[in-house]
């Protein structure tokens, strides 16, 4: 555990990637197989199980530090992370070895002098707990902690907090809340693994797909010589990804050498049929069998040893185009969808590619051959829920733009272009696959509310809610939860309860044209540079009109151009509309708030 914490600190310091790869590789080489497996598991972010809620952890910290709840909340708002907040507070109170040495002056706060919880557990605690191997912490100690009852759990955790030093408390807390993440991506971890083992990155990537149960055996299997590779039935292949099309390249290419098809707006997924079992993996490497029984049943007829790559969509049989992404979201959350939901939102799997046939890896084959075989396979299956993606004929490159112009009407988010001669690669390679997405929709909106971000954006106001103009006497569009005559700021008691700055009603700005008011319609936090974020943060602090917990209402002055993928009616939003994937495309410093767009403009963008 101690050496794992040092690794965490080293990786977290943000030195160059090369240094981090080397540090990780040499660390992995020093570990015994079980600890190496657990280290890998944690660094890949595969430990998602929450053993203790962040809230419970904060309550325990409150008990132990004797600090008022509001003060811990204020600290949390500044830090943006429960695990770290508690670690900082405990170190500050000298409850860890490091903190005890760190105090220049005697503890001065009344809280610091409050009695520590009686330490019955501390007496039982192995003083060398910090030196236990990671495996022991992960397989024995943390599950034991999670299984204890209230008072016992508090005492046991207090004992650990007391025995560990600052950085170790942080790691322990993160492991307990299932929020363990370091600033290293999977690509970097695989590179380090390749460096440590001498194996090919692509091989390691493939072996790491799907389930990885950390154990000495799993580690040894991961690093086994290539020939000894026994593929578990469930293991998916790494997904091939596309790069945004650079249209100037088209002139050098022959249309007939390329496959064009819709870029559907669903969930990319791999369907595996091996050893008599079906596995449906999302691109996020989650097994989603349980959510899609209506696909698994027809897929059971696929031949043994088949792996498909395609897109999950909700697509009722009689409809010419798939339903919106929102309908698919209803399905994703349901591990046991009701018969009613299955009827309302039936799933379809549009298949792009054939990765394995008759147990043989098809990825080295050219796309043309894979698609030919895929067509035969799905025809033989004869199930409408599994349909091949239709090619979009290309006589010349102008056709590509013509198809793209029709994408929104077809329910797609753009067009894909794939090299018919290329094998199936792994990850995002430039060359064989290109995506040509629709231009996003854009609206100029007024910044109305802000709240602080999380993680590296904690203590900066970076999460914004934007508003559009609507006539004062205009009833809110049908389906809206809000009433039309709300006074400014009414309903403002909820904005933070929903975890976003949204949902409050707009305030009539002073000095604006009369007869209009602002109604909030979208929240966004991405798209601005760090420098802009800092500048806007300062502005927000100086132009706050009211505060609601962590949310600030600001003078409606700043205008931003928002980009988004679509607009739908929504009864859950006060504006009566919901936008898909909103992000900030630029700061309109040139526009006064009075010239921002209206809700009517947004309503006109709704798909028929």
């Amino acid at each position: 555990m101690r050496s794992f914490c040092r690794l965490f600190e080293e990786l977290d310091r943000g030195e160059g990637n090369l240094a981090r790869i080397q540090a990780l590789a040499s660390h992995l080489q020093r570990l015994d197989p079980a600890d190496a497996a657990w280290t890998l598991h944690l660094l890949l972010g595969k430990q998602r199980r929450r053993l203790i809620t962040a809230r419970r952890l904060r309550l325990l910290a409150q008990e132990i530090t004797g600090m008022p709840e509001w003060l811990i909340e204020a600290c949390h708002a500044q830090v943006g992370d429960t695990a770290e907040t508690i670690a900082l507070l405990l170190v500050g109170q000298g409850r860890s070895a490091e903190g005890a040495n760190a105090i220049d002056s005697p503890p001065t706060s009344a809280a610091a002098l409050s009695p520590r919880p009686s330490p019955p557990a501390a007496a039982n605690l192995d003083p060398a707990a910090a030196d236990w191997p990671l495996q022991r912490w992960m397989e024995e100690e943390l599950p034991r902690l999670a299984g204890l009852d209230g008072a016992e759990q508090a005492a046991a955790l207090a004992a650990h907090w007391q025995a560990l030093v600052g950085g170790e408390i942080l790691v322990l807390n993160k492991l307990l809340t299932g929020a363990f993440r370091v600033g290293v991506g999977p690509g970097l971890v695989v590179k380090a693994l390749a460096l440590a083992s001498g194996l090919e990155e692509s091989l390691l990537q493939h072996r790491l797909m799907g389930e990885f149960r950390p154990s000495a055996a799993a580690w040894q299997a991961l690093l086994a010589a290539p020939s000894a590779d026994a593929v578990p039935a469930s293991r998916p292949y790494p997904f091939q990804l596309a790069c945004p099309l650079e249209p100037e390249r088209l002139a050098g290419w022959t249309p007939s050498a390329w496959l064009a098809e819709w870029k559907w707006d669903g969930i990319r997924a791999q369907l595996i049929h091996r050893s008599g079992e079906l596995f449906l993996w999302s691109r996020g490497e989650e097994l989603i069998n349980a959510s899609f029984p209506d696909l698994l049943a027809p897929a059971a007829g696929l031949p043994e040893g088949t792996v498909l790559d395609g897109e999950l969509l909700v697509w009722p049989a009689a409809e010419p185009r798939p339903s919106s992404f929102g309908e698919l979201q209803r399905r994703l959350g349901q591990r046991r969808p009701s018969t009613r939901l299955l009827a309302q939102a039936p799933a379809t799997y549009v298949v792009y590619d054939l990765l394995e046939a008759e147990g043989v890896d098809q990825r080295p084959q050219p796309l043309l051959e894979r698609r030919r075989r895929l067509g035969l396979l799905l025809e033989a299956l004869g199930q409408p829920q599994l349909r091949p993606s239709s090619p979009l004929p290309l006589a010349d490159w102008d056709d590509l733009e013509r198809w793209r112009a029709r994408a929104r009407d077809s329910g797609a988010e753009g067009v894909m272009l794939k090299d018919l001669a290329a094998p199936y690669g792994s990850g995002r390679q430039r060359g064989p696959w290109w995506k040509h997405k629709l231009d996003p929709l854009r609206l100029d909106a007024v910044l109305l509310y802000a709240r602080n971000g999380r993680g590296r954006r904690a203590n900066l106001y970076t999460d914004y809610t934007f508003a559009l103009w609507t006539p004062e006497d205009q009833p809110i569009p049908p389906g809206s939860g809000g009433s039309s005559g709300d006074p400014p700021m009414a309903g403002a008691a909820e904005p933070w309860a929903e975890g976003s700055a949204a949902a409050a009603i707009g305030a009539e700005p002073e000095g604006a044209r009369t007869g209009r008011r602002l109604v909030s319609f979208a929240s966004a936090y991405s798209g601005l540079s760090d420098a802009e974020l800092v500048e806007i943060d300062r502005w927000i602090r100086r132009h706050t009109t009211e505060r609601f917990g962590p949310v600030r209402a600001v003078q409606p002055e700043l205008v931003f151009e928002l980009a988004f993928e679509g607009v739908q009616r929504s009864s859950r939003h006060r504006s009566g509309i919901a936008v898909r994937f909103p992000r900030i495309s630029r700061w309109r410093r040139d526009k006064p708030a009075t010239e921002a767009d209206t809700l009517a403009t947004a309503l006109a963008l709704i798909q028929p």
Partner: protein, 340 residues
């Protein structure tokens, strides 16, 4: 929230004003008579008629506000009388020549802390605890997550980081006035004797420190180093604004670090992008703020910039001290202290 109406100080558009003595403390705009706690830009501004400050701050103030300003140098504890008000300056331990300013009249003692820290600092005089009836204090790091480690620990970490990269330069970003010289003095204390290279902005403020005989390793502006000279293994100090500037071209491939109290929080470190954070502040941490409030025995405490609202509530609810936050209507009270 404002100050008691009939007290020694009130908040005017120019800043904290004592009408009886006709003086302002760290005024934001030009005034006839300015008392200056220290030379940081958010406390010392140009254009006032007469200035009073600690003598050792003179070099810095003349450099920043103009060589010809009408400046009266004072020593710590020296009494200045103006229209029945006794005014004295007391060490704040923040930077060279930094002071808390005490006003006394009619048996009332009002203390303006300016920026201060409680940790020892070999580049300036230590903080002096002063008793007061009303204390106006900074609260930059007014949350219990801010708790400074002993300086020697942080400096040892910095030296180990520097020594671990003998093949390239190590650049530490730190505020040009105060933090840089404190770091140099701490390096000297830790036994570093080799030359440290400086950005021009830091070099410009070295003379007053050398004049005050603060022991520091030899220094040289990077610009004076021969362009063909290797920077491998050299330590370079630069202000945070130099990061990403063209000045850094010569330091391509260097490892970078930032010395600041804000580095205590991981999110703030990560926001800075690549580079190591060293938690080193010239402001008081949470225990230091509480200790200072208690030692002042003030019946009433007014907090200025930083996390004032949280500290004020804590003092009110947990310690029963009458405490509020002094806010300027343009919200400036909330903006972060720039130098840390």
């Amino acid at each position: 929230m404002s100050l008691p109406a009939d007290g020694l100080l009130r908040l005017s558009p120019e800043g904290l004003h004592c009408p009886v003595a006709d003086v302002w403390i760290d005024p934001w705009r030009p005034v006839p008579h300015a008392l200056i706690t220290h030379g940081h830009a958010d406390h010392a501004r140009p254009g006032s008629g007469e200035y009073w400050a600690i003598g050792s701050a003179e070099g810095i103030l003349r450099r920043r506000l103009g060589a010809s300003i009408d400046l009266h140098g004072l020593s710590y504890g020296q009494i200045l009388r103006r229209n029945g008000v006794r005014i004295s300056f007391h060490s704040a331990g923040h930077v060279l020549g930094s002071a808390q300013i005490l006003l006394e009249a009619g048996g009332e003692r009002w203390l303006v802390s300016g920026d201060f820290k409680r940790q020892a600092d070999p580049s300036c005089t230590p903080f002096e605890a002063v008793r007061a009836d009303l204390l106006i204090s900074e609260a930059t790091f007014g949350l219990p997550i801010y708790h400074w480690q002993p300086t020697a620990t942080v400096v040892a970490e910095l030296i180990a980081w520097w020594r671990s990269a003998p093949q390239r330069a190590s650049v530490v970003f730190c505020y040009a006035f105060g933090k840089a010289q404190r770091l140099l003095a701490e390096l000297h204390r830790a036994g570093v004797e080799e030359e440290v290279l400086l950005h021009g902005a830091i070099q410009a403020l070295m003379d007053p420190y050398r004049a005050a005989a603060v022991p520091m390793p030899p220094t040289r502006p990077l610009s004076e180093l021969d362009r063909s000279a290797s920077l491998a293994g050299r330590l370079v100090l630069a202000p945070p604004a130099a990061q990403g500037s063209s000045w850094m071209a010569r330091l391509r491939g260097a490892q970078c670090g930032l010395a600041s109290g804000w580095m205590a929080v991981r999110g703030a470190r990560r926001r800075r992008g690549s580079g190591r954070g060293f938690v080193l502040s010239d402001h008081a941490d949470w225990p230091g703020l509480l200790q200072t409030v208690r030692q002042s025995q003030a019946r009433r405490v007014v907090l200025t910039h930083g996390q004032g609202e949280n500290l004020a509530r804590y003092l009110r609810e947990e310690e029963g001290i009458d405490c509020s936050v002094l806010s300027r209507d343009d919200g400036r009270s909330e903006s972060r202290s720039e130098e840390d």
